[in-house]
């Protein structure tokens, strides 16, 4: 199996390297990336939106729908993190992370009244 895998990697890499031969030269003014909408943005960004920073004009004006999507992705990530963590906490049998953190947090050795160190592992249900 292993020689087959190596052969496959070499073939795919060779195919891609062969494919890059068809790409335009880097910085070629006639390349497709520089003849499509980019020319319009460069020539009209200042006149269209009084914005000196062309990048800001593209990001928040011409391509603002894409930027809005990116922002929604950030919020969705935050929501997902919170949903995963909150869901685990409602489950009684699983140690909740507040009690887990209590056993390992920076104040683990500073419990008032007791000079002894608490057990180093997670404290199961130890929410007093």
């Amino acid at each position: 199996m292993r020689p087959m895998g190596v052969l496959l990697v070499v073939l795919v890499c060779g195919f891609f390297l062969w494919g890059t031969g068809g790409l335009p030269e880097r910085g070629d003014p006639e390349g497709p990336a520089h003849t499509h909408v980019a020319v319009y943005y460069i020539e009209n960004a200042l006149a269209d939106s009084e914005t000196y920073n062309m990048v800001a004009a593209v990001l928040a004006d011409y391509r603002v729908f894409d930027t809005f999507g990116e922002a929604v992705v950030v919020v969705a990530a935050a929501l997902s993190v919170l949903l995963i963590l909150l869901r685990r906490r409602e489950d009684e049998d699983v140690p909740d992370h507040r009690s887990v953190a209590k056993g390992m947090g920076p104040e683990a050795g500073k419990e008032p009244g007791g000079g002894t160190t608490p057990p180093s592992g997670p404290v199961l249900g130890g929410d007093s």
Binding site: T51, N53, A56, T67, A71, V75, A78, L82
Partner: protein, 144 residues
């Protein structure tokens, strides 16, 4: 909830440095028209200053900026961008086409301010989201 680390240096230095971080972050957010920068970068800096306060000040920072506030901030900022976009749909443009957002104002000026509105709201959104993620990882999300 993270607890406060008992260090005088951390306390003094973080208190001195947080306002500077926040002022520079506001500069980065609002100066996107002229310089590199914008909502994402400035929002990350605002979140970094808040998280520094979380680490160095403990309880006090949660009273000032509660764990649920981050999520509210992110949610309302997203809603704000969406409403701004819908308002231009209402007045004859397409979604988020700044030039039509408010009738009666010159389109070029509106596009200038549209970029500003979007950048500032994205700054708040990133700020709230990152603080919410940090609070979720340290406290479990919401305060009861």
């Amino acid at each position: 909830m993270t607890s406060r680390y008992d260090s005088l240096f951390l306390d003094v230095v973080s208190r001195a440095i947080v306002p500077l971080i926040q002022i520079f972050a506001l500069y980065v957010v609002t100066h996107g028209h002229y310089d590199p920068g914008g909502g994402f970068q400035g929002g990350v800096m605002l979140a970094a200053s808040t998280i520094l306060l979380r680490i160095s000040q403990g309880e006090e920072s949660y009273r000032r900026f509660s764990p649920s506030a981050g999520l509210y901030l992110a949610g309302f900022a997203t809603l704000g961008i969406a409403l701004w976009g819908f308002s231009s749909m209402l007045f004859g443009g397409t979604f988020l086409e700044h030039g039509y957002a408010i009738p009666g104002i010159d389109g070029v000026t509106l596009r200038y301010w549209g970029i500003f509105v979007v950048e500032v709201l994205i700054g708040f959104l990133v700020w709230g989201s990152l603080v919410a993620i940090y609070d979720g990882l340290t406290t479990g999300g919401m305060d009861e």
